[in-house]
């Protein structure tokens, strides 16, 4: 195969490549056939209407630290720049200057070309942010930049040169009244602070030579005697930098800043958000989904009715949060209006007098959890899945079977008849399962409280539910469970989302039908629970209606079951239900049993405890997929003996991270049995830091981290084996087993790039080779065979197991293994995989700022005939052979007869 490559190494490498890369590698014409990508920007915080370029565009800065230009015509992203994550990339000011925009984010001042998205100029501010920063005001001037940093007790005003970034002037304004409760905001060149306990407004002109706070009573702007503890809100007015909206409790006032003094302009009570364009103040009021933009001349205060708008927003839209209004000249010389509106469900709308021009579902930029739901089967198969009568005797079961098969045949006949005379495709919104169950309904729960059902084939949103009070739990989590799948006709499938209340912090539960998006129960399926949730789990045992109950643990360690009728299921299985809890930042993990529960009183009782010592704290607990199937119980060794896997379904990986002076950052992994609390195995790393990504499946764990000592990313692979015999081949019990711990094979590899997220592929029966999906920091998603990460890859020669390659410390990144081909996905937060009806196929959804869906075949399509498989040829050959066999038999018989007569 390679005569020229005589070097054994190259031969080895070549062998290696030809042998192990079952990579799919996409053809150009297949792009977009089985995958789709959707790009988002996030919640818009700043925007600039750019008139200088054609087509016209809106430059926006978002809460996801993204700077993007949206086409005014259709809302498409013209260009997008993803800035640094965290505080360093949060855009605090966005100023449009002709064909350029200037953004101030963290310590960076950048000027961008709006047409080409090129970075024209960048300045690094030589100014360290003050510790204990409460608020920062930024004033972007012609040649200088003024920062007003509010800290407790004072305001630090720094003037910096905009070109060089060096500090020019530095003043510390003492303000002993500033506390963490003080609300400050910037407007134009001033910093405005409201201190409710003093009922005073303080104004500081930041650009003044010697800035000084000037105070005036809240009553002077018409906000008299506010109740203590009422909410204070300072809102900028886009389009009028020297104006500010001060909201104290229900009172809402527009004030004008003139140097150090401010005066009341207008009472804006009742409106939600306001913006100014062309000297006209637009205030938005919203009743359900109808928004009204009232126009008032800012100078005279007269109503300019004809410039207002009344627009109906799409359903499932939340309350308006911010508004940007822009006036422009139409081709016939008149002036028209465009309004960019952001709502609490994170949707972005462009409004004009004609209505909603376009809108973007920016909630998708913050998807928190995903579930793949099987679509309902078409009518033909429904009867087939009808449950049998409760006590089937042979007659009734025979009748049942005959009846279902007759109905199936008749349905098929009618289908064939229909197909012949009508060529119209089925209506779009009736989604049915395809033959191989490759089409899924992806249920996405987002941080905005919006839950969406997305058709996996097209990426279109099929239904939406917006629950305004729903917000993620601690640690940015929404729990999404499938209580009932679509396999139990006539029962409808049911999913629940568990989160917390936006204001009270108590639990909120949303139950809905994932196929239609209809809420189950009262109030559209939304339930406010009245207690704080600390743990939730889905039971494996369904009730008599095939509904798996969700068990919720509140902060007083009381148990609640949803639906309430599921209590009987819990009681029935109380001896085998164990719950484990780990508080974030704590040093111990505790296990509880439900066995002491009685009807009406479900209780948790502690049965085990694991205490991670050594100054570390628990940073993550990673279990396995509950429904995971392990196809093969062992591995065949080179000497044909079998090494049995240690497959413990209750095993969880507990990561603890700590710091000590000798070893610097440490990471310890404990493999804990979550039923008995036994620590099966543990691995200790020194001088490593996160982010840590753990993939835990079957009998192996793969995790990645950053090695501080060698300054490289590493991946460690652990695999557990019982040994050459099994303790109990039929069932696994956490309470019984060998006295010896399982054998742990381990190996480490170097990764050339960092990882944003990692997961493994899942298939229906677990026969297909597992692949690990790594979302790289470069924005690609790479597939890597588990074989490459196998801890048993031999370092030295000797008899080798089948399929194992010699150990090479560095893992190669092949461009063929990038399942995202030429797409770059910034800020990937997680990867979701789901099995399909086809054993070889697995659907993948990568989410984060963008959504990317594809399907992959980890072991190629071993259970599918190729597209170009010639059925006719094979059929023809078989028939011909049969005919030949028959004729030759006849001939042979005749010959034999003739021979006999001779």
């Amino acid at each position: 195969m390679a005569a020229g490559l005589k070097a054994p190494l190259s031969l080895l490498l070549l062998l290696f490549l030809s042998h192990i890369s079952p990579s799919v590698g996409l053809y150009e014409d297949q792009i977009g056939k089985f995958d789709w990508v959707q790009q988002y920007v996030g919640i818009v915080t700043h925007s600039v209407f750019d008139e200088s370029t054609v087509p016209r565009r809106i430059v926006v800065a978002t809460s996801e630290n993204v700077l993007a230009a949206l086409a005014t015509k259709n809302g498409d992203i013209v260009w997008r720049q993803v800035l640094e994550s965290g505080e360093n990339g949060r855009v605090e000011a966005l100023v449009g200057e002709g064909q350029r925009v200037t953004s101030v984010a963290g310590r960076m001042v950048r000027t961008w070309d709006t047409l080409t998205a090129a970075l024209v100029h960048e300045t690094y501010l030589t100014h360290t942010p003050h510790p204990g920063l409460l608020e920062r005001a930024v004033v972007v001037g012609e040649s200088e930049l003024v920062l007003g940093e509010v800290v407790a007790g004072s305001v630090v005003v720094t003037t910096l040169d905009r070109v060089s970034g060096s500090p020019l002037d530095h003043t510390n304004v003492v303000a002993p009244w500033i506390s963490t409760d003080t609300k400050c905001g910037s407007a134009g060149k001033s910093l405005v602070c409201v201190e409710l306990s003093l009922s005073l407004i303080f104004v500081l002109l930041l650009t003044a030579p010697s800035p000084e706070f000037v105070s005036q009573p809240l009553a002077s702007v018409g906000l008299e005697a506010p109740e203590p503890g009422s909410q204070v809100l300072l809102q900028n007015v886009p389009g009028a930098p020297d104006h500010l909206i001060i909201q104290v409790g229900p009172g809402r006032r527009l004030v004008h800043l003139d140097g150090n003094s401010l005066h009341l302009v207008r009472d804006l009570g009742g409106s939600q958000t306001s913006a100014v364009a062309g000297g006209v103040l637009y205030s938005l009021t919203q009743v359900a989904h109808v928004v009204t933009l009232g126009a008032v001349d800012l100078e005279t205060g007269a109503e300019v009715g004809e410039q207002g708008l009344v627009v109906e927003l799409p359903t499932h839209t939340g309350q308006a949060i911010s508004l940007y209004v822009h006036h422009y000249q139409t081709s016939d010389g008149g002036s028209a209006l465009r309004a960019l509106l952001t709502c609490s469900d994170h949707s972005l709308h462009l409004l004009s007098s004609a209505g909603v021009v376009w809108w973007r579902e920016e909630a998708m930029a913050r998807v928190v959890s995903v579930e793949g739901v099987d679509l309902p089967v078409d009518g033909a198969n429904i009867n087939f899945q009808d449950p049998l009568p409760a006590s089937p005797d042979w007659v009734s079961s025979l009748v049942h079977r005959v009846r279902t098969q007759v109905s199936q045949v008749s349905h098929w006949v009618s289908l064939v008849m229909e197909r012949s005379d009508s060529t119209f495709p089925a209506p779009l919104h009736t989604l049915y399962r395809d033959q191989l169950n490759l089409r899924k309904l992806l249920v996405l729960a987002t941080a905005s409280g919006k839950i969406m059902g997305v058709d996996s084939w097209t990426g279109e949103v099929v239904w939406r539910i917006y629950v305004s009070e729903l917000t993620p739990l601690e640690g940015d989590k929404l729990l999404l469970y499938t209580q009932r799948t679509s396999a139990h006709f006539p029962h409808q499938p049911q999913c629940v989302v568990v989160g917390k209340h936006r204001e009270t912090g108590e639990g909120v539960l949303v139950a809905f039908n994932p196929n239609t998006g209809e809420g189950v129960g009262d109030r559209g399926g939304v339930m406010t629970l009245g207690y704080t949730i600390i743990q939730a789990l889905l039971l494996h045992h369904p009730d008599h209606q095939y509904l798996k109950p969700v068990v919720l643990v509140d902060d007083t360690m009381k148990l609640h079951v949803f639906p309430a009728g599921g209590e009987s299921v819990v009681l029935q299985h109380k001896d085998s239900i164990f719950v484990h809890l780990a508080r974030p930042g704590s040093t111990h993990l505790t296990g509880y049993t439900l066995r002491f529960s009685t009807p009406g009183n479900l209780v948790l009782r502690e049965v085990w405890r694991v205490c991670v010592g050594g100054g570390g704290i628990v940073t993550g607990v990673y279990g396995k997929l509950a429904w995971e199937k392990v196809h093969s119980p062992g591995r065949v060794l080179a000497d044909r003996s079998v090494l049995y896997k240690y497959v413990n379904p209750n095993l969880a990986v507990v990561t603890t991270q700590g710091y000590d002076h000798l070893n610097k950052n440490t990471l310890t992994l404990y493999l804990v049995d979550t039923v008995s609390g036994a620590v099966i195995e543990s691995v200790n790393h020194k001088k490593v830091s996160g982010p840590i990504h753990v993939v835990h499946s079957e009998n192996w764990v793969v995790y990645t981290f950053f090695n501080d000592k060698y300054r490289r990313f590493e991946v460690t692979s652990l695999e557990l084996f019982e040994g050459l015999s099994q303790a109990n081949a039929t069932a696994f019990s956490s309470l019984g087993g060998r006295a010896t711990p399982p054998i742990m094979e381990r190996q480490a590899y170097i990764l050339p790039v960092g990882i944003q997220a990692a997961t493994h592929t899942t298939t229906e029966k677990g026969i297909t080779t597992k692949f690990i999906l790594f979302a790289l920091q470069t924005g690609n998603v790479m597939q890597m065979s588990k074989w490459l990460l196998d801890p048993r890859r031999p370092v030295t020669g000797g008899p080798r197991e089948e399929g194992l390659l010699p150990y090479i410390p560095e893992l190669r990144l092949s461009p063929h293994d990038m399942i995202t081909y030429n797409h770059t996905l910034p800020r990937v937060s997680s990867i979701f995989t789901a099995p399909t009806g086809l054993e070889s196929a697995c659907v993948v959804l990568v989410y984060g700022l963008d959504l990317f869906y594809t399907r992959m075949f980890p072991s190629k399509m071993f259970d599918v005939l190729k597209d170009d498989f010639d059925h006719y040829l094979i059929g023809g050959v078989v028939l011909a052979l049969m005919a030949a066999a028959l004729t030759t038999r006849k001939l042979a018989q005749r010959k034999a007869l003739k021979q006999a007569w001779k």
Partner: protein, 249 residues
């Protein structure tokens, strides 16, 4: 300065004395000494009361050297309690804490009471100690009987045999099996495994060796071995065509 020096010498003397005293006490190197107290609950129920059962003297975490002393003799009264637990299908719970540092809390685990009963109090305790060897992370209780079959397992000799060391990194000490029933505990002390590191050195060595082999090793194969891929087709062609000529004649 003087003060500092005296302080230092004082410390030195103290340290020497300390090490000397330790050296007299123990004949092996000390790499972490722990005294652990085991408590169990024979009362059962949702809120059990724990009573002290045994102590474990861990002499060395590294070598897993530990001695178990059962501080509570097994009485018929206790046996009755255990039987009651078995009848209620309750759990046998134990917890372990460190003597002298009770504030660190305890670690605990459980097993089914019937498993303990049917194993005739024979058990293996596997204790995971943290990487610094100063505290216990978790405890694992394994009984020889995995599945209860409702009758007491008679073969005590089996249990004694089963308690010979099998632990990966740990040693064990067996308490003397008395004729009367008593806890028969095997202790395995384990600590976190040091992390694997990418083995670049061996790999580079392997590459070097390959390179050297290539540079040094001249091709000393025979002519046939080197050029068989050219010779074989040639011979084949000759055979085929030569055969054809023969046939034609």
């Amino acid at each position: 300065m003087v003060l500092q020096a005296t302080n230092l010498s004082c410390l030195m003397v103290f340290f020497l004395a300390f090490t000397a005293s330790l050296a007299f006490q123990e004949d092996e190197f000390l790499d972490g000494q722990l005294t652990l107290v085991i408590e169990d609950a024979l009362e059962g129920g949702p809120d059990p009361i724990f009573t002290q059962r045994s102590t474990i003297q861990v002499r060395s975490v590294k070598s897993g050297n530990a001695v178990v002393t059962h501080t509570r003799p097994w009485t018929t009264d206790l046996n009755q309690k255990l039987k009651k637990l078995v009848e209620a299908d309750d759990l046998y719970r134990i917890r372990v804490y460190q003597k002298g540092s009770e504030e660190k809390g305890y670690v605990s685990t459980f097993t089914k009471a019937c498993q303990v009963f049917e194993s005739r109090l024979s058990e293996t305790l596997s204790l995971m100690v943290d990487s610094s060897g100063t505290s216990v992370v978790g405890v694992w209780l394994i009984t020889p009987v995995c599945v209860c079959d409702g009758e007491e397992n008679g073969g005590e000799s089996d249990n004694v045999g089963g308690s010979s060391n099998g632990g990966g990194g740990g040693g064990e000490i067996i308490t003397s099996p008395s004729s009367s029933l008593q806890h028969n505990t095997t202790v395995i002390i384990r600590s976190p495994i040091p992390s694997p590191v990418p083995d670049t050195a061996t790999y580079i060595e392997k590459l070097e060796a390959m390179k050297n082999e290539k540079a040094e090793g001249k091709d000393n194969r025979s002519f046939l071995a080197k050029y068989w891929m050219y010779i074989v087709p040639l011979v084949l062609i000759m055979v085929v065509f030569g055969g054809g000529q023969d046939g034609g004649r």
